[in-house]
C-alpha cells in the first residue's frame, strides 16, 4: 500500500487491466508516448506497445465510434476523451450507439466492454471549455452507466469495477483532484461497487449529498455546520447511473432533510432527478424543501470562477436553511 495521487491510481488500474487482458486497448488523443495531457496513461505504451496504447487522430466522434466497434468485437476498449468539454462531437456515437447497441440488436451485440474515461469539472482556471460537468446529458440516456470517483482510492477501485461491468461506462474523472487527491491505495487489484452510494459520515439532521470533486466541498461545509451543532450525514453518490436511491432514501427517512451539491448548472442537473425521486419516496418525512447548491445557469466563466462554484460557503448556508426551515 502506497500513498499515491489520483492520476497514479488511474494509471495503476489501466496497467493492471492491460497486464491481465491481452485484448485490452487504451487509446485517445496524446495518450501514447506523452502519456496523456494529464499523464494518466504514462508509460503504458512503453510497457504494452503501440498496438495496445496509442494516439488517435484528433476526432472524438472517431474515438468513440472506433471504441464501439472494438468493444462489439469483444476487446476491452478504454477510450480517453481529453476533456469532458470535448466529448460532444462523440455525442451521437454515445447516445445513439453506445447506449443502444444491446437494446436495438435484441442483445445480439453489445459494447459492455467499453469504458470512456474523461476529466471533468472546474476550479483550474479553465474557463468555458475546460471546466464543464456534462454528466446530466448522459444520465438522460438509458443504456450507459456513469461513475464519478472522489479520491485516489475510489478512482482505482471504481475504474477496475467499471472495466468489468457488462455495460458501457462513462468514467468522469475530477481533474481538479488529479494531483491534489493523495491517499493510501493498494498496489494490487480491487473493486468498489458500481451502483452503490457510500455513506461517508453518519449524522442525524441533514443529509448532504454530492459526488466527485464536490465531496471535499461538502465535507468542509459539514464541518462548519457541525460546529453550529447541526448533525449531518454525508453521502457520496459515486454512480450517477444507475443511482443508488435506496441509500439516499434511507438516509432522508432518518434526517428528513436533503441538500444536494453539484458543479453543473442547476437546471436539469442530476440534482433535479434526485430531488424529484426523494420527494416522491420520502414526502411525508421531509422537514424542509430539498435544496440544491449548484452552478448557476450560465456557461462556466473564467474570471468569475470563484463566484460560479457551488463552494463550501454556499453549501453551509443551504445546510443551515434546511435545518432551520
Amino acid at each position: 500500500m502506497a500513498k499515491i495521487n489520483m492520476l497514479q491510481a488511474i494509471n495503476s488500474a489501466l496497467d493492471i487491466t492491460l497486464e491481465e487482458h491481452d485484448n485490452a486497448v487504451v487509446f485517445g488523443e496524446d495518450v501514447g508516448i506523452f502519456g496523456g495531457v494529464f499523464r494518466a496513461t504514462s508509460h503504458l505504451q512503453e510497457k504494452y506497445g503501440r498496438d495496445r496504447c496509442f494516439n488517435t487522430p484528433l476526432v472524438e466522434q472517431g474515438i468513440i465510434g472506433f471504441a464501439n466497434g472494438l468493444a462489439a468485437q469483444g476487446s476491452i476498449a478504454i477510450a480517453e476523451i481529453q476533456f469532458a468539454d470535448y466529448i460532444f462531437p462523440a455525442f451521437d456515437q454515445i447516445v445513439n450507439e453506445t447506449a443502444k447497441f444491446r437494446y436495438r440488436s435484441g442483445n445480439e451485440f453489445n459494447v459492455g466492454s467499453l469504458v470512456i474515461r474523461t476529466p471533468y469539472g472546474g476550479g483550474i482556471a479553465g474557463g468555458l471549455y475546460h471546466s464543464q460537468s456534462p454528466e446530466a446529458y448522459f444520465a438522460h440516456t438509458p443504456g450507459v452507466k456513469i461513475v464519478v470517483p472522489r479520491n485516489a482510492y475510489q478512482a482505482k477501485g471504481l475504474l477496475l469495477a467499471a472495466l468489468k461491468e457488462p455495460d458501457p461506462v462513462i468514467f468522469f474523472e475530477p481533474k481538479r483532484l488529479y494531483r491534489a487527491s493523495v491517499g493510501e491505495v493498494p498496489d494490487g487489484s480491487y473493486e468498489l461497487p458500481i451502483g452503490k452510494a457510500e455513506i461517508v459520515k453518519n449524522g442525524e439532521q441533514v443529509t448532504v449529498l454530492a459526488w466527485g470533486a464536490q465531496m471535499e466541498i461538502i465535507e468542509k461545509a459539514v464541518e462548519m455546520a457541525e460546529e453550529d451543532g447541526i448533525s449531518c450525514e454525508i453521502i457520496d453518490l459515486r454512480t450517477i447511473t444507475p443511482w443508488d436511491y435506496e441509500t439516499v432514501v434511507q438516509s432522508v427517512l432518518k434526517t428528513g432533510r436533503l441538500v444536494i451539491n453539484h458543479e453543473a448548472p442547476l437546471s436539469c442537473g442530476f440534482g433535479s432527478e434526485i430531488a424529484a425521486t426523494i420527494q416522491e419516496k420520502c414526502f411525508l418525512y421531509l422537514e424542509s424543501p430539498i435544496m440544491r447548491v449548484c452552478g448557476p445557469d450560465t456557461p462556466f466563466p473564467l474570471i468569475h470562477e470563484k463566484e460560479y462554484m457551488p463552494d463550501h460557503l454556499k453549501t453551509y448556508e443551504a445546510i443551515k436553511r434546511s435545518a432551520n426551515y
Binding site: 506523452f34 487522430p57 476526432v59 466522434q61 471549455y129 466563466p301 463566484e307 454556499k314
Partner: protein, 394 residues
C-alpha cells in the same frame, strides 16, 4: 448533370486501384533558406508598406510571445500559446485579405489579429481578463475576438469554426459583397468531423471561403505521422472538388502570393480554396506542455532551422527596405512597451459581477435574474471569499 453518380467515367477493362502517391502535390516556395529569391520563382507584387507591415507584425508577435510566456511562468497569466515558427504563415495570409474579409481562427493566429489593427493593450486586456476585455473575462487567455476588425471570437473546441466559415461565406455571397472568409485550422483539427462537413458544404454550395490549414507537424504531442496517412491535408482538397495549393509556411512571400490568388478565386468565382501551409511548430502546444516529453532537441534543431523572420528580413534588407540599426532600436522599444502594457493591464479592475449572467441570452431571463440576486446576497455575506467582485457590489 454529368450522370446520376456525379463522377467522371473513364472506363478501363482491368481493375485499376489508385494509390497514395498517384497525385503529386508541389509546394510553392519563393524564398530559399537564407531568404534569397529562388531563380525563376514567381514573386508577388508587394509594396514596401505592406511588406514592412508584415515584418513588423511578425516581429511583434515574436516578442509578445516571448514576453507572455515569461509572464505565464511568473504566474501573472494562467495560460499562453505562442506561434513560434509560424509567424509568416499567419501574418502574410492575413495581409493578402481585404480589411473587411472575415477571419475565423483556431487559436494560434493572433498575428493575423494584430495585422488587422488589434492593439497591444487590447491583447493585454484579454489575457488579464480585465473589464476592458471585449470578451468580458469569460474565456482563457488568447481567446480574442472583435467584430470591428472582422475576427471571430476564438472557441477552444477544435474545428468548429470550419463549417461556420462556410456558412459565413455563404452569407457574404448572398449579400452580394465582394468579400470572403478565411478560416484557419491545424492539421490535427482537420481530423475532426467538422472539417469534412465544412469543406464538403463549401464546395457544394460554392462559397467564397479560403481554408487555411496550418500544418505545423504537431497536435499537442501527436505528430502528423500519427494524425493521417495520406499526403498532407492538401490531398483532401481535390477530393472535395476544391482548388488547392501547398505552400511553404515559413516563406512570407509564397504565403502572401498564394493567399492573394486564393482570394481572387474566392471572391471572383465564388469558389472555396484550400491552402496547406507547411511550417514547424517550434514551441510547445501551449504553456501546459513540455515538448521534451514527446520529441527530441535534435528534431527541433533540424526542422526549426528555417526561421520565417530571418528569411523575410534578409529579403527586405536586400530590397533596401529595412535598416538593421533601426530594427534594434525598435525591438528594444517594443520589449519595453510590452512590459509596460502588462503592468497597466494587470491592475485594471476585473469585469463586474453582473457580467457573469449577461449575454447568456440577449435579455436576462427571470430565473437568471433570481440566481444573480441570490448570489449577490451571498457575496455580500462573505466578501472575503470573493475578492474579485465583492468590493464592487452595491
Amino acid at each position: 448533370m454529368l450522370n446520376p453518380n456525379n463522377v467522371t467515367v473513364s472506363v478501363v477493362n482491368q481493375p485499376h486501384f489508385i494509390e497514395n502517391g498517384a497525385l503529386e502535390i508541389p509546394m510553392y516556395q519563393v524564398l530559399d533558406e537564407q531568404g534569397n529569391v529562388i531563380e525563376g520563382a514567381e514573386v508577388p507584387d508587394i509594396d514596401k508598406e505592406t511588406a514592412l507591415k508584415i515584418f513588423d507584425t511578425m516581429q511583434f508577435v515574436r516578442v509578445l510571445d516571448d514576453r507572455m510566456i515569461a509572464a505565464q511562468r511568473q504566474g501573472r497569466i494562467s495560460f499562453y500559446m505562442q506561434c513560434l515558427g509560424e509567424e509568416a504563415a499567419i501574418t502574410a495570409s492575413a495581409a493578402a485579405l481585404g480589411d473587411t474579409d472575415m477571419i475565423m481562427s483556431q487559436y494560434r493566429e493572433h498575428a493575423a489579429l494584430h495585422y488587422r489593427g488589434f492593439k497591444l493593450d487590447q491583447f493585454m486586456n484579454q489575457m488579464f481578463s480585465n473589464e476592458l476585455d471585449l470578451g468580458k473575462g469569460r474565456q482563457m487567455p488568447i481567446h480574442y475576438g472583435t467584430k470591428e476588425l472582422h475576427f471571430a471570437t476564438v472557441s477552444s473546441p477544435l474545428a468548429t469554426q470550419i463549417p461556420q466559415a462556410t456558412g459565413y461565406a455563404y452569407g457574404q455571397k448572398l449579400a452580394g459583397k465582394k468579400e470572403c472568409t478565411l478560416c484557419y485550422f491545424g492539421e490535427g483539427a482537420a481530423s475532426e468531423g467538422d472539417f469534412h462537413a465544412g469543406m464538403n458544404m463549401a464546395a457544394v454550395h460554392k462559397v467564397p471561403c479560403i481554408f487555411f490549414c496550418r500544418n505545423n507537424g504537431y497536435a499537442i504531442s501527436t505528430p502528423a505521422s500519427e494524425q493521417f496517412a495520406g499526403d498532407g491535408i492538401a490531398s483532401r482538397g481535390l477530393g472535395y472538388g476544391m482548388k488547392t495549393i501547398r505552400v511553404d509556411g515559413s516563406d512570407a512571400l509564397a504565403v502572401y502570393h498564394a493567399t492573394q490568388l486564393a482570394r481572387k478565386t474566392a471572391v471572383e468565382d465564388n469558389a472555396p480554396v484550400l491552402i496547406e501551409s507547411c511550417a514547424y511548430r517550434l514551441g510547445g502546444h501551449s504553456t501546459s506542455d513540455d515538448p521534451t516529453g514527446y520529441r527530441t532537441k535534435d528534431e527541433e534543431k533540424q526542422f526549426g532551422a528555417s526561421d520565417p523572420l530571418v528569411k523575410f528580413k534578409h529579403w527586405l534588407e536586400q530590397k533596401g527596405w529595412l535598416d538593421a540599426q533601426d530594427e534594434q532600436v525598435k525591438l528594444a522599444q517594443l520589449r519595453k512597451e510590452i512590459l509596460a502594457a502588462v503592468k497597466v493591464a494587470e491592475v485594471i479592475d476585473k469585469p463586474a459581477f453582473e457580467e457573469m449572467f449577461t449575454d447568456v441570452y440577449a435579455e436576462m431571463t427571470p430565473h437568471l435574474l433570481e440566481q444573480m440576486n441570490e448570489l449577490k446576497a451571498h457575496i455580500k455575506k462573505y466578501p472575503e471569499a470573493y475578492p474579485v467582485t465583492s468590493g464592487r457590489i452595491d
